[in-house]
Symmetry: C4
C-alpha cells in the first residue's frame, strides 16, 4: 500500500516516513503522474490533427467548388497517416490506462521510463507529418515505424520493470496466475511494436507492403485477447 517502493524504506524511522508520505499526498503524487501522462497523450493526439490543412496561400482567394473538393481529396495520405497515428496512440493510451490499474505506486526509475515513453508519444506527430507528405518514400515509412516501435517497446519495458518481482504492484493473486497475467499483458503490448519492427525490414523493398503489414496489428491484438481469455484474471486488465 506504500506509494514509494524502495528498499531503503526499512532503514528509515517509520514514524517520520509515514508523516512525510501520509495518505492524501502520496495518493495525489500518484494521481499527478497519471494525469500528467494523460494530458501529454491528449495533446499529442490533438496535435496530429494540426497537420490536416489545405496548402497555404489559398486563403482568401475564392476557388471553385470542384477545385476545393479536389484539394480536399488530395490530402488523403494525410488523412490516412492521421488515422493510423490516432489509433496507435489510442492503443498505447489504453495500454497505459490498463497497466496502471495493476501498478499502484511509483519510484524514480518508473517516472523516468514514463517520461521517455511520453517523449516518444509527443514525437509521433513528426513522423506522421513526414509520412503524410512523402507516403511512398521508404525513409518516411522506416522513420514512422521506428518511432512507433520504440514507443511500444518502452511501454513494454515500463510494464516489465513495474511487475518484475511485483516491484510496484500489490497483488494477492496466486503466483502462477500472476505470472500468466503479466505474460498475457506483455504479449498484448508487444503486438504493435513487433509488427512495426518487422515492417521496417520490408520498407526498403516495398513501402506499400510495409504499410499494408500494419493492418496485422488488429488480428495480433485479437489473438492475444483470445489467449488472455483463458487466464480469467487477465480479462480484468484487458
Amino acid at each position: 500500500m506504500q506509494p514509494e517502493a524502495d528498499d531503503e524504506t526499512k532503514d528509515t524511522p517509520p514514524a517520520n516516513a509515514r508523516v512525510m508520505l501520509s495518505g492524501v499526498h502520496n495518493k495525489l503524487a500518484f494521481d499527478r503522474l497519471l494525469f500528467f501522462s494523460d494530458a501529454v497523450f491528449a495533446i499529442a493526439i490533438t496535435f496530429l490533427a494540426l497537420d490536416l490543412r489545405l496548402p497555404e496561400g489559398e486563403a482568401g482567394h475564392p476557388i471553385g467548388d470542384a477545385e476545393l473538393w479536389q484539394k480536399l481529396g488530395e490530402l488523403w495520405p494525410k488523412y490516412l497517416s492521421f488515422l493510423v497515428s490516432f489509433l496507435v496512440i489510442g492503443l498505447y493510451w489504453q495500454g497505459h490506462h490498463r497497466m496502471f490499474r495493476l501498478i499502484n505506486r511509483f519510484d524514480d526509475r518508473l517516472v523516468w521510463i514514463n517520461l521517455l515513453f511520453l517523449l516518444c508519444i509527443v514525437v509521433i506527430p513528426f513522423p506522421t507529418t513526414v509520412l503524410g507528405e512523402h507516403a511512398n518514400a521508404p525513409a518516411a515509412v522506416i522513420l514512422y515505424a521506428g518511432v512507433l516501435a520504440l514507443t511500444g517497446l518502452l511501454q513494454a519495458a515500463m510494464w516489465l520493470y513495474a511487475t518484475h518481482h511485483s516491484r510496484l504492484v500489490d497483488t494477492t493473486l496466486e503466483a502462477s496466475l500472476y505470472r500468466h497475467l503479466v505474460r498475457v499483458v506483455t504479449a498484448r503490448m508487444l503486438a504493435a511494436p513487433l509488427v512495426f519492427l518487422a515492417s521496417m525490414a520490408l520498407a526498403s523493398h516495398s513501402p506499400d507492403w510495409a504499410k499494408y503489414s500494419w493492418m496485422l496489428i488488429a488480428p495480433a491484438l485479437a489473438l492475444t485477447s483470445w489467449i488472455g481469455r483463458k487466464v480469467p484474471a487477465a480479462e480484468k486488465l484487458k
Copy 2:
C-alpha cells in the same frame, strides 16, 4: 457498483478479481477516462482559436490604423466559423459531461467508441478552418456539417451503447422512468447532428441557407428541454 462490466466476472474467483480491481484503482481508471476526454475537448476548443490570425507577411511592416481595422474586419467569416465550432464543441462537451453522470463504469468497447468520438472532436478545427477560408463553397459547408453530424451521431451511439439494458449504468430508477429518461437525453443528443445532416442536402443548392439552417439547433434543443421537463428525473441530467 463494479467498474468493469463483463459477464465473465462470474467465472473469476471473486477474491482475486476484487484485489485487482479494488476501490481506488477502478475509481482512478474511470476518472482517467473522463479527464483524458476533457483534456482533448479543452485542447480542441483552444486550437479553434489558432485559426484567428492576420494573414502572414504583415508582421513588422507598420500599417495604418484604418488598414488594420479593415484587415481585422475581413476575418469575419473566420470569427463566425470559430464561434459556431466553439458553441457546438461546448454543446458536445456538455453532453459528454451529462452522459457520464449516469454512466458509472466502462468496458473496452466504450473506451473505443469514446476514442472515435474524440477523433472527430480533434478533427473539428480542420473543417472549421476550411469553412472560414471558403465560406461560400458548398464543399466547405458539406465537409463541416458532415464532420459535426458524425461527431454527434457517435456521441448518441455511445449513450445508447452504455444505457442499453442498463449495460454501464447503475440505476434504481423505476423501469418506465428510466426508459423515458434515456429517450429524452437521446433526443437532445440527436438535435444537433440531425440539423447538420439536413443542412448537407441543402448545401449544394445554397450554402448560405445551409448555414442559416444551423440556427435551428437552438430551438430544437429548447424543444427537447421542454419535453424533458415532463419527465422529472430527466431534468437532473439535462
Copy 3:
C-alpha cells in the same frame, strides 16, 4: 450540499433523484467542470508563447551573432504583449480558482456562462499577437483591451450569477458578512476590466498612454485587497 441547484428538485421523487445524482458522480461532474476550465486556461497560457519566434525564412542560414542578438531584441513588443497577457490570464485564473472555493454546485446556466468566459480566454492569444505586431496602432490596442475587458466582465457576471441569493453557494456566513464578502470579491474582479475599458477611450488619442494605463491594474488590485482586509472572511477567498 446538492450539486444541482434547481427548484424542480422538490417535485422529483427524492429516492430516484438521489440515486442518479448520488455522491461520487456529482462530485466528479463538478470536478470535471473545474479541470476542463483549468485545462483551457493552461493551453491558452501556453499558446501565448507560440507567438515568440524569429521571423521565418532565417532557419538554416547561418547568421552572425550580433545579427541574432538584434533580431532577438527586435521582438521586444512581442515579449511585452506576451508578458501582459500571461499576467492577466494568470489573474483571471486566480479569480476563477478563488470563486470556486465558495461556489460548490453548478447548473446549466453557470456551465454556459463559464463556456463563454473560456471562449474569451482562448481568444486572448489572437489580440496578443496583433498587439505584438502592431504595437502602435490604436486598432490593436482597442481590440486587445476590448477582449480583455469582456473576459473580466464575464467572470464578474459568473460570480454575481452564482452568489445572487446564494444561488450556487452553501454558506453559513452571517448575512451582512456574506454581502460584504461578495462585494469585495466583485470589486477585485472588476479592477482589471474597468481599467481596460477606460484605456479603450484613451487609445485613439494615444495608444502609448492607453498601454501605460494598464499598469493601474496593480494598485487597483492592491486597493481592493486593502479594503478586503477589513472584512475578515473575505481574506479567505483573496
Copy 4:
C-alpha cells in the same frame, strides 16, 4: 492542516472560516493548483516537438529517398535541442512533483511564484527553437541557458519560500532532520540552474564547450542523490 497559511487567520471567527474553507473545497483548490501546473508542463513538453518538421515548401513535391534521409539528418541540431529541453523540463516537472509531496497548502504568494515559474516553462520552446536553428551562435546558447537557469532558480525560490519556517508544510519531522531534508532538496534543485549559469560565461568564448558543459548536470544530480542518501528522510522526496 489548513489549506491557507496566513497570519490573519487568528483574527477570523473560526466557525465562519471553517465553513468557507471546509474539507472538500480546499482540497479541490489545492488539487487545481497542481493539475493546472501539470497541464502547463504537459503542453510545454509537447510544444517542443512542434519544432521538429521538415522545411516548408517540400510538401507534395515527391523527393527521392536519399534526399529525404538527408533532410531528416540535417535536422540533428533540432533533435538535440528538443532532447535537452525535454529532459530538463522533465527534471523540473519531477522537482515540482517532489516539492508538492511536502508542501500541503498554498497562499497567494506561492500561487504567483508558481505562475512566474510556469511562465518560464511555457517560454522554453522559444529558446529551444532558436538554439535548434542557430546552434553555433553564442547568442542562442546564452539565451537558452539563461531561460533554463531562471526557471530552475524560480523553482528553488518557490521551495525555499514554502519551507522557510515550515510556512506551507506540515511536518512532525525532528527539526534537524527537516533542515537537512530542505538543504538536500535545495541542492538538488540548484544543480541544473547553476550549471546553466556557469555555461553562460563560457558561451561567448566557445558555444560548443558551453553546450558540452550541460552534461555536468547528470553527475551533479547523482552527487546530490548520493549526499541525500545519508539523510534517510530526504530519500523519500527524491
